[in-house]
Every structure is written in structure tokens, then in C-alpha cells.
Amino acid sequence: MNSSIVSMKKISYEYRRVDDDGHELEAIHALDQVDLDVKTGDFITILGHNGSGKSTLAKHINALLFPTEGTVLVDGYDTAEEKNLLTIRQCAGMIFQNPDNQIIGTVVEEDVGFGPENMGVPTEEIWERVDESLKTVEMNEYRKASPQKLSGGQKQRVSIAGVLAMHPKCIIMDEPTAMLDPQGRREVIRAARALNSVEKITIILITHYMEEAIYSDRIFVMDRGKIVMQGTPKEIFSAPDELNNYHMTLPMATELSYRLKEKGMNLSEGILSRKELVKELTAKIKDAGTVQELVAKADYPSDDRRKEETEVILEAKNLTFEYEAKTAMCVKAIDDLSVAIRAGEFLGIVGHTGSGKTTLIQLLDALIKPSSGTVLLNGEDVFNKKYDRKKLRRSVGIVFQYPEYQLFETTVLKDVCFGPKNLGLSEKEAEEAAKEALKEVGISEEYYEVSPFEISGGQKRRVAIAGVLAMNPSVLILDEPTAGLDPKGREEILGLLKKLNHSGMTVLLVSHSMDDVARYAKRILVLDKGNIKYDGNVREVFTHADELEQIGLAVPEVTYIMRDLKKSGMNVSTDILNLDEAVNEIGRVLC
């Protein structure tokens, strides 16, 4: 049983960057003397920041890349030998990050059959395998569907079925959840865990989400092409300082347990899940014998400090937007929605996929025309025929999801200049605005003349944001600006937004992450079926946990912990939004 499915011995992988004339610029060591041993049947997780070499490592297991030094054995086969290639790829299947770019078939079942077809499996058996794999990932009812019509989580499950149909012993998942919403993420992780426990398939999961790592048998942390930490989740998450060095964070429950320990509470090491933490804490109460009487309810720093109402800057009035209007397939993406946004606000917009968030922000910048209703900027109707749209574009900037995909110029500086120039600024003025914006997002001067296609993913994201900031908007709208970034990248972007908001910019943040919204937004807008379900103060909105769950949303992780504590008999307040508050509140009850 305990044989190795993957064994890497001192493998290195380097590639050379060359300039246009073929001169070598630098040799990049994507992998540096890596030793990795994965036991059959294990669930292992590889963590590491963007560019740490995780994906390169994964591609070695699937024989998509070959080490420049060292050997990789998969199920005993050496990947360096050409004749082993197909055996290895059959044995170790791979799931990639982008759900769209790995589905080959135009119908779900055809895609699942693609692998077995390539392997030369007889027709009859292909059908059996397709049936069986689709059932395993619970996608059987969609077998005749076009992949186009599926959600991200469903697409990833189809990809998993496609790999399963090849009867692999091991599946490597390279950030399979990075482009998904929370629900899709749960679907994929649940499928992965089921495959491991029921089908006994070895799973190698690469991820940025610490919460996804806690169920694994072993965790490997990578940094600069090396494996720098390895151990069980308990061991790994018991070393927060070391993790922090590699730009990783802790799962929320673990983080909270550390903070409580700092306060002098006696908790055991390596608490990983919400369940464990709640169990420990409630045990504490029982030890103490009695639940302490409630002292006066603790004071939180008031969220409404800036109570003085500023003037309304952007306003939607009875907005309705229909897709395929006047046909039988008419869908109301936005349905009679009205909202007023005040200058200087930090507004979080949340909603399930398909709730109309993206449509709403496109309407706010007049990128699409509403079926009825209108948008007012400083009281002026932006859909009026006489209205100069440039005025709107100058005031309202939008950073779309994956904004780096809109970069096109030859240099970073020129790309950032694109917006200001479109607004009619002179070359010089535009350049000044661009430089200022780049400074704001933390892109240093040495990158100004570099092609935007040659910088790292996180830098591209920031350059793209600078491209919008350079237009000096008074309202900045961002659609999932942290999607696909590692924890440090996420912090940087969110920190930037906070800073911008403090300097007076109105910020609208569309996000799937309730934790991010709870931490940064003051007011929150919950969308459901094209209309506003809740609109109000963050703390107030998150008290509707059950209702939010019903529309496919959630509350922040800390809030969940507090709710669980309350359910198991601890007399804590549940309208808690961040770690500091949670530490205080638990401390108040237990100390």
C-alpha cells in the first residue's frame, strides 16, 4: 500500500530567456533540486505563491515537461523515456486552472470520451467509462449539454470526469478552483476528496486557498523552485512565521486560535478547522463550570463614524436590463433596480454568479444600454443623447475581471497612457498621469519600458489597474480584482483600494469573498436575481446569514465561527466581522 506513486529525485528545470537576437538574457531555475515523494492513495497539497514553481512541478508529473537534471518516476516509470509517455499520462491525469481551455468536446459526453479515445479503448468500453465517470462527479444529467452552458464548477467537474475515464491512479490538479466562485470551489474540492476517499485515487492539489489544504495528508510548500516546508497540515500550520516568509497565510480558524493564544488562552497546537476550534473553546466553558454572566455588550469601533452624508455621486434609477429582449428567451439580468452611491463610499457588491453584478457595473459605466431606467452621474442622465460619454468615462473607471487580458501596448508606460490619451490629454500630460498611477500601484520605474507581456501575473494585474487609475476617476469599480492571486497579491490589491478610498475615491468592489468585503467595505449591496436583496451597513447585512445562504452566498468565516460557538452554548455575539473583534468577544466571554 505504501509504495510511491510519484518519486522525484533531485530534479531541476531551467529555461533560458533570450532577446530578439537570440542572446541569452538569463537562465531561470523554475525548479531547483526538488525531492518529492508521494505515497499511493495520499491526498497531498502543494502551496506556494505565484511563480514559486508549483505548476512547473505539476507538469513534470504528467510528463508535459522533462527535468533538465534528475529523474521523475511515476508509478515506477521514468518520464524521460519516450516509450513511457502515454502510460504515464494515463496513470497521472491532470486538471488545469482555466475551465474553458481544457474542454475539447462540443458536448459533455464527447469530451469525457476524449481521453479513452486517444488511448484506443474499444468503443463499448468508452461508453461504460463515460457513464461511470460522469456519475462519479455527479454530472450525468448534463451529459448531452454543451460545455458553454455550464457553470465554472460544473466545467471543472466535467474535466475531472474526462481524466477519470482514463482510469488514472493519480490526479494532479493545478489550481482547479482559482477561477471559480465559492460554490464552484466547494463542488470541486468535494469531488476531489470523494475521489481520494472512495476511489482511492492519489490527489495532488495545487492551490492558493489555505482552507482547501487542511484536509490533506501532507502539505508541501514551495518557494523559488524549491520545496521549503513539508509535513502534515498540523505541522505546517503550526509554523505561522515561516509560512509568512513564503507569502502564505493561515486558515481562518488557525489564525484565530493563535490570536487567542497570544491573549493568554490555553489552546492546543494546530487547530485547523472551524469544528476543532469550536470544540476546544466550548470545552473550555465546560471546564470553567459556569458560563459567565454577560457584561455589557462590548463596544466595537463604530462603522458609522463617517455618518455625515456626502452627496450622491452615481445613481441608478429603476434600471432594467433584458437579454434577448422581445423574444421567448428574454432574461431580466437587472430588474427595476435603484441605488444611490455617495461620494467617498467603499461599497461592496456581492451576489451569486448570474445575479446581475457584472451587468450592473456595465450599466453604471454606460457600456450597455438599459431596457428602461437610467443612470445619473452627479445628477446628469448619462443615457441622454446629448450627454458626452467621455465625461462619464473620465469619472467612472472600471477594472474588469482579469484586467491583464486587456493589455496591448508595446511598453507598460504606453499601455497606461492609453486611457488618459483617449480622454484628450497631451502626450506629456498622459505620461505624467501614467507615471503617477504606476507609482500608486507599486510598479517601479525599471518596468516602464518593459513589454506588459513580459512581467509577472501580479504585476500585469497592477499595471492594468494603473491603466484605469491614470484616468483619475472619482468612482472606481472593480470586478473580482483579486481573482487568481496568491494571498500576498490579494493583500496588496485590497490594501491599494483602501488607500485610494482614504484619499477620497469612491470604490465599488464586486467580490465573491465575504471576508474581503467584511474587512474593507462600509456598505454592502447584496444582489439576487437582478435586484437588491439587502443594502446597508456591513454588520447589519451579515446578520442575515441564513437568508444569504439561501441565495448561494455566505457570511465571513469568522462570523461562522461565532455562530457555531453560539450554537454550542457559548454566549457570544454573532455580529462579528473580523479577527480583532472575534478575539475581543471570545476573550470577553472566556476570561
Binding site: M94, I104, R393, Y405, N422
Partner: protein, 291 residues
């Protein structure tokens, strides 16, 4: 705007035609096209028209849906008809400057109109009742013999099906990039055509970059799933000819035979009949210039 094109679209329904082997449908379409071109007389077109109406009825595709796709080629048809009507040679009925309306012209125009109409409807029935993947499979199988001459038939079919899969994705992407650049103040509606051309760069560069990135990703994903070309590959959906396909083939051949028979017998008879009609109801052949 691109959504309005029904030409080449698939219409989901359950009919005998939908269930036919794609190869039979491909060959059938070819036979039908041939039948439209071998003879140029109105009786043959009448027969072809009746055949087409029956096929449409069997296909269960709404006629309205079919005709919606015809809008885009309306002008082409109008032009062909007018050209034939006024620029033909023959018995002049009326003259407008260099344009002469001739009897033969009208006859030709009518023939041409139906030929084009049947041609387009006939081939759209193929795509309306066959999924793109069936179509590629059918083409691959029909052209298989060419691989003996080192024509990469499998690879071409694979490229075609991947293209079909990615067209909607890339259209969506275009829309996204366009909106993103619009939000950055780009002007896609500039009146000056040169400036408008310049505006395409912020759209096309990201689109190409994205298409290449997707292509790279897809190639990797295909390799990871053991794709190594057409050699040693089995098929999940094997095309097998059933009784229904042989019957269909028989009907098609009978139809072709019928058209040929009609064409040959009418070749002599029809000009005579027409001549009778034109020359004041006396049975005089129209002369050597046949129609």
C-alpha cells in the same frame, strides 16, 4: 448581429433526418446539388422543389427558422434574377436603354432563382439537422481515403471541431475586451475609417494574445489526455449505416434517376412546347440556341 445568421446553425429536433448518418446526408446534399445543375428546365426544378418540400416536412425544422437565414443572401438572389432578366439574349419584350427584357431572360431568371433557392435551402437542411461534431466526423470518414495520399484528414477534422468549440468563447472574449477598452475611453464608433482602423489595435492585440494563450493551454490539456494524433485512436461514436440509411440512399438515387429521366425526355419536348407558346401557338422549334 452575428446571432441572426441561421445559415450553418443546428436546430435541435427529433426527426428521421436528424438521425440519419451524417455521411448519407453529406452525400445526399451533394446529389441534390448535382441534380440542380445537370438540367436547366423548369419541370426538373418543379420536381426538385417537390422533393425539397417533402424533406423539409420530414426534418421538423420550422420553415420560418429556415427562411430567417435567407435574409442575408436576399440581395445576391435579387441581383442574379435582375441580371438574367435584363441582360439575356433572345426575344425582346421591352427595352430600357441597354437593358432588354427578353422572354428567355425571364425564363432563365426563374430557373436561376429556384436553382439558388433550392441550393441554399438544401444545404442548410444538412447543417440544421446535423450537429457540427457529427458533420466533422462525417467529413473525416468520407475523406478518409485521401489520407492514403498523405492528406492530414484527421488533423483537419480535429482543427475544424476545435474551431467550432472556440468560436463562441472568442466572441464572448471580444465583447469583454471591447467593453474594457470602451471603459478606458476607446472610441469604436469614430466616423473616420482610418481612426476606426486604429481603434482595432487595442481590441485585436489582446484578442490574439488570448487566442494564442488558449491554444497553448488546450494543446497542453490535449497532450495530458494522451492525444497523439489519429494513430491508434478509437471512436466513442462510431458511425454505422443502418437500414434507414440504406433506404434514404435508395430514395436519393431514385430521385436522381428521376431527374435525369425527366431532363432527357424533356430536353427535346420542352423547347418545342415553349416555341409553341412564344410564336403564337404554332409548333415551330425555337431554333438552335437552346435554353
Amino acid at each position: 448581429m452575428l446571432k441572426d445568421i441561421t445559415l450553418g446553425q443546428y436546430y435541435q429536433a427529433d426527426s428521421v433526418l436528424h438521425r440519419l448518418d451524417p455521411r448519407v446526408k453529406l452525400v445526399g446534399t451533394l446529389i441534390y446539388m448535382v441534380s440542380l445543375f445537370i438540367f436547366n428546365n423548369i419541370i426538373c426544378y418543379l420536381a426538385a422543389g417537390i422533393f425539397l418540400v417533402i424533406v423539409i416536412a420530414i426534418s421538423k425544422v420550422p420553415v420560418k427558422f429556415m427562411l430567417r437565414g435567407m435574409k442575408s443572401i436576399f440581395f445576391l438572389m435579387l441581383f442574379t434574377v435582375l441580371y438574367n432578366m435584363f441582360l439575356g439574349k433572345g426575344t425582346v419584350i421591352a427595352e430600357f436603354g441597354i437593358f432588354a427584357l427578353t422572354f428567355e431572360g425571364i425564363y432563365n431568371a426563374i430557373c436561376m432563382f429556384f436553382r439558388l433557392l433550392f441550393l441554399i435551402i438544401g444545404s442548410s437542411i444538412l447543417t440544421l439537422t446535423t450537429t457540427p461534431s457529427q458533420l466533422t466526423d462525417g467529413l473525416e470518414s468520407l475523406f478518409k481515403p485521401l489520407s492514403l495520399f498523405r492528406v492530414p484528414v484527421h488533423e483537419m477534422a480535429m482543427m475544424m471541431s476545435i474551431a467550432l468549440r472556440f468560436i463562441p468563447i472568442l466572441m464572448e472574449e471580444t465583447d469583454k475586451i471591447m467593453k474594457a477598452q470602451l471603459a478606458r475611453g476607446a472610441d469604436f464608433e469614430n466616423k473616420n475609417p482610418f481612426k476606426r482602423l486604429g481603434c482595432l489595435i487595442p481590441l485585436l492585440v489582446p484578442l490574439f494574445v488570448s487566442a494564442f494563450r488558449r491554444a497553448g493551454d488546450l494543446a497542453l490539456a490535449m497532450e495530458a489526455r494522451c492525444y497523439h494524433g489519429g494513430n491508434g485512436r478509437t471512436r466513442m461514436k462510431v458511425m454505422r449505416l443502418s437500414a434507414r440509411d440504406f433506404v434514404a440512399m435508395g430514395i436519393l438515387l431514385a430521385y436522381l434517376g428521376g431527374i435525369i429521366f425527366l431532363g432527357i425526355t424533356l430536353k427535346e419536348l420542352l423547347p418545342a412546347l415553349l416555341g409553341y407558346f412564344v410564336n403564337g401557338f404554332t409548333l415551330v422549334p425555337l431554333g438552335s440556341e437552346s435554353i
